[in-house]
C-alpha cells in the first residue's frame, strides 16, 4: 500500500502550489466563488495525475473499438471515415422536400434526415380537423404511400442512408419506405437508415405520442423483431437524449434518462422472447451537443462506457456490437438566440466540435436562423460547411479520441458516469423508465432543471452573449422562410383523388386484417405493410390502431 515516490512528490507539489495561491487569491480573487457546470458538478481549479488515482485505465477507458468503448466504437474513428453529415430537413410538400434533399446530396451531404409535419408524427391525415393550422409547418406532410413515392423520387434508396424522425407511427413510415424501395427494385435487406421510434421520450419530453405505453412498447418490439429478419441493416430505434436535453435536463440527466429508456426497450424485447444479440447491434442513440464544451465531450464518453457495461452485465450480451453506443448528435436548438443570430454560427461550431471530439457517428449542425423560423438554404449551407471545416481543416480528426488522458476530461467522464449510474439505480427502484415516466418523476426532474437554468439567465449568473450581455439594438430580420398555407388544401385534394383511384375494397380488407392482428399478438409489420401497399392512408392505419389500443392522455401537470 501507500503511495509511490512520484505520487508523493506530486501531492506535495500540488499542496505547496495551493498554499502559495492563498495570498494571491486574497488580492485577486477568481471570477466566481465556485465553478459548477450544468450537471451540478463542481469544477476544480486544477486537475493533475492525482485525479486519476484509483482509476483503472483498461477497464474504465480502454482502447477504441474495444469494450467498454469509452474511447470510441471504431478502432480508427475518423482516420478511417468521417462521421455522416446529416442535416434534418423537410418542407411542406413531398415535392419541395425532394428538391431540398437532392440539393443537400449535391452539396456533399452523405445521408438524408426527414422531418415530418406534426399531423404525420401524430398519425393524422392532412384533412383531419386536428391538423388545421399544422399541415406542412415543421416538416413534410405524408398522408399515404403516394406522398412517400414523391418524397424519394430519383433518390436511389440503395445508395443513401435515411433517418426518419418518426416515433408513434414509425412502423407505418418504415413500411412506406420499404414499399418505395421495392418499387425502385431495392430489396429491404439493402436498406440503410434509422427510424427514431423512441416513444418513451415522447411522453417525457417531446410530445408526439399516440398510444399508451404498453401497446407502444409492443409496436417497438415488433419492429425490432421484423427488422432483424427482413431489414437487417436498419437502425430500428434512435434512443434519444436530444429532446430530453432540449426540454431542459442537465447533461447527467440526459445520459441517465436516455439509457434508462434504452434499458426499458431492451427489457421489453427480451421479455418478448428476442435474443439480445439479434436486435442489440441495431439500437442507435441520439444526443444533444450543448454549450459546456468539456462537459459534453465527457458526456459522450461516459454514455458509451455505461451502456456497454449495462448490455454486457445486465443483459448478458455477447456480441460486442450490442454493447456499442453508436450515436447521432444534433447541436442544441435551445441555445440558439433570436438576438444577433449570426452568433449562432459560432455557437454551433463549438458544439459540433464537442460532438466530434466525443466520437459521434453522425451530426446535424443547426442553422443560425432556427430561433426565428425554418432554416433558409444559405443558413443550412453554412451549417453544413461548419462540419466540413471541422472534418477537413482543423486536424482534430487525425487521431482517435484526442482529449483522452486530459486529467480534466477523464475526471469529468468518471463523474458523469457515476452520477448517471446513480440516477439509473433510482429509476430501477421505481420500477424502470415506464413507471418513472408514468409517475411524472422524469418530467419533474427535467422541469426543475429547465426552471433553474432560466433563473440563472435572469439573475445573470449565466451569461448568454447577445441576450443578457453584449446586447445591441438590431433590426428584426425580414423575409423569413414561410410555409404556404395552401399546402393543406393541396394535400386534401391529393387525398380525395387517392381515395377515388385506389381499390377501396382492398383497403378495407387490409385494415380489417390489421385490426385483427392488433387485437391478437402477431407481429404488426406485415399487415401494416399490406395496408400501406394498398394505399391506405396514415390516418386510416393509425385510427385502426387507436381503436384497439386507445390513446395516451398526458398525466403530468406542473409537478408541484
Amino acid at each position: 500500500m501507500g503511495e509511490s515516490r512520484d505520487d508523493k512528490a506530486l501531492r506535495e507539489a500540488v499542496e505547496r502550489w495551493s498554499e502559495g495561491l492563498k495570498e494571491k487569491l486574497k488580492k485577486r480573487p477568481e471570477r466566481k466563488e465556485s465553478f459548477i457546470n450544468t450537471s451540478g458538478i463542481a469544477i476544480n481549479r486544477l486537475y493533475t495525475p492525482l485525479d486519476q488515482k484509483g482509476a483503472d485505465y483498461l477497464s474504465e477507458v480502454g482502447l477504441p473499438g474495444e469494450y467498454p468503448f469509452t474511447r470510441g466504437v471504431q478502432p480508427t474513428m475518423y482516420r478511417g471515415r468521417y462521421w455522416t453529415m446529416r442535416q434534418y430537413a423537410g418542407f411542406a410538400t413531398a415535392e419541395e422536400s425532394n428538391r431540398r434533399y437532392r440539393f443537400l446530396l449535391e452539396q456533399g451531404q452523405t445521408g438524408l434526415s426527414v422531418a415530418f409535419d406534426l399531423p404525420t408524427q401524430i398519425g393524422f391525415d392532412s384533412d383531419d380537423e386536428m391538423a388545421i393550422g399544422e399541415v406542412g409547418k415543421v416538416g413534410v406532410a405524408i398522408d399515404s404511400l403516394k406522398d412517400m413515392e414523391t418524397l424519394f423520387a430519383e433518390i436511389p434508396l440503395d445508395k443513401v442512408s435515411t433517418s426518419m424522425t418518426i416515433n408513434a407511427p414509425a412502423a407505418v413510415l418504415l413500411a412506406m419506405y420499404i414499399a418505395v424501395a421495392e418499387k425502385q427494385g431495392v430489396e429491404p435487406a439493402r436498406l440503410r437508415g434509422t427510424i427514431q421510434n423512441d416513444i418513451l421520450k415522447e411522453y417525457s419530453s417531446r410530445g408526439t405520442y399516440i398510444f399508451p405505453p404498453r401497446p407502444s412498447m409492443r409496436i417497438i418490439t415488433d419492429i425490432f423483431s421484423y427488422c432483424a429478419q427482413k431489414v437487417p441493416q436498419w437502425n430500428t430505434i434512435s434512443i434519444s437524449g436530444y429532446h430530453i436535453r432540449e426540454a431542459g435536463s442537465t447533461a447527467v440527466q440526459e445520459v441517465a434518462f436516455t439509457l434508462a429508456n434504452g434499458i426499458a426497450y431492451v427489457q421489453a424485447a427480451v421479455d418478448a422472447g428476442l435474443d439480445v444479440d439479434t436486435f442489440g447491434p441495431r439500437l442507435s442513440f441520439f444526443f444533444n451537443a450543448h454549450l459546456d464544451f468539456f462537459e459534453e465531450v465527457a458526456k459522450y464518453r461516459a454514455a458509451r462506457r455505461l451502456w456497454a457495461e449495462l448490455m454486457k452485465e445486465r443483459f448478458n450480451a455477447k456480441n460486442p456490437r450490442s454493447m456499442m453506443i453508436r450515436f447521432h448528435t444534433q447541436t442544441a436548438g435551445c441555445t440558439l438566440t433570436a438576438q444577433q443570430p449570426q452568433n449562432n454560427i459560432v455557437r454551433v461550431a463549438f458544439q459540433a466540435l464537442s460532438a466530434v471530439l466525443g466520437g459521434t457517428q453522425s451530426l446535424h449542425t443547426n442553422s443560425m436562423d432556427e430561433a426565428l423560423c425554418l432554416p433558409s438554404e444559405q443558413a443550412v449551407q453554412i451549417a453544413l460547411r461548419t462540419q466540413q471545416l471541422i472534418a477537413y481543416e482543423t486536424g482534430v480528426t487525425d487521431t482517435v479520441d484526442p482529449l483522452a488522458g486530459s486529467y480534466y476530461v477523464e475526471s469529468l467522464t468518471r463523474e458523469i458516469y457515476d452520477r448517471a449510474k446513480a440516477y439509473i439505480e433510482k429509476i430501477d427502484d421505481m420500477g424502470g423508465a415506464v413507471a418513472a415516466i408514468e409517475q411524472g418523476f422524469v418530467q419533474r426532474e427535467i422541469q426543475e432543471s429547465a426552471y433553474r437554468y432560466q433563473r440563472e439567465i435572469e439573475k445573470e449568473e449565466r451569461i448568454v452573449v447577445g441576450l443578457n450581455r453584449f446586447q445591441v439594438q438590431e433590426e428584426k430580420p425580414a423575409n423569413l422562410l414561410r410555409v404556404d398555407p395552401a399546402v393543406r388544401e393541396s394535400q386534401i385534394r391529393k387525398l380525395k383523388a387517392l381515395k377515388s383511384e385506389r381499390d377501396n375494397d382492398k383497403v378495407k380488407n387490409t385494415l380489417e386484417a390489421l385490426r385483427r392482428s392488433a387485437e391478437g399478438s402477431e407481429n404488426l409489420l406485415p399487415p401494416i405493410l399490406d395496408a400501406v401497399k394498398a394505399y391506405a392512408t396514415l390516418g386510416e392505419i393509425c385510427n385502426v390502431l387507436r381503436g384497439v389500443f386507445g390513446e395516451y392522455r398526458q398525466v403530468d401537470s406542473l409537478g408541484r
Binding site: L118, P119, Q121, I122, F124, M130, A131, I132, G133, E134, K137, V138, E202, R206, G207, T208, E246, A247, G248, C334, T337, A338, Q339, A371, L372, C373, L374, Q447, A450, Y451, Q454, I457, E458, L467, K476, A478, L480, R482, V483, P485, R553, Q554, D556, S557, L558, R560
Partner: protein
C-alpha cells in the same frame, strides 16, 4: 379586496406542438410570483382552451406555440372567446412567432406576444399591469 385576489392564469398549449419547456418555465415563474396557474397539458383544441378558461374563471390565458400554427390557432381562440361572450380575459401568446405576424395577432385581440429571450420577469410585469381583476 382587490389586491388580495390572486391572479388566475390558464397556461395552454394549443395544437399539436409538443414543445412545453417554455410554457412550464413561465407557469413556474408565475406561481412563484403569487399567481394561481392551471396548465392544460399538450394538444388542446381552441374549443378546449376556451372551455377551460370559462370553467376555471381565469383572468389570463397564456398560450405557447412553436410549430408555426399560431396564425390559425391564436385567432381561433379569440374568435371562440368572443362567441362565448368572454371579454375580460387578458390573452397572451408566446413561442416562435415572426415579427411580421404580430400585428394581425394583436388585431385579433391578443394583448401581447413574447418571443425567444423574453424574461419571465417581463411577462409577470405585463400581467400585473394589464390584468383586469
Amino acid at each position: 379586496m382587490a389586491q388580495d385576489k390572486k391572479i388566475r392564469v390558464l397556461a395552454a398549449k394549443p395544437g399539436l406542438d409538443g414543445h412545453d419547456r417554455g410554457i412550464k418555465v413561465v407557469a413556474s415563474a408565475l406561481m412563484d410570483a403569487g399567481m394561481e396557474v392551471i396548465y392544460t397539458g399538450l394538444r388542446q383544441t381552441p374549443a378546449q382552451i376556451v372551455e377551460a378558461a370559462i370553467q376555471e374563471g381565469v383572468d389570463v390565458i397564456a398560450m405557447s406555440i412553436l410549430s408555426g400554427a399560431h396564425d390559425y390557432l391564436f385567432p381561433k381562440v379569440m374568435e371562440l372567446l368572443k362567441e362565448k361572450g368572454v371579454q375580460d380575459v387578458l390573452v397572451l401568446g408566446g413561442g416562435i412567432i415572426p415579427d411580421e405576424d404580430i400585428p394581425a395577432l394583436k388585431d385579433a385581440g391578443i394583448a401581447e406576444i413574447f418571443g425567444p429571450g423574453t424574461t419571465t420577469g417581463e411577462i409577470i410585469q405585463f400581467i400585473k399591469e394589464n390584468v383586469d381583476l
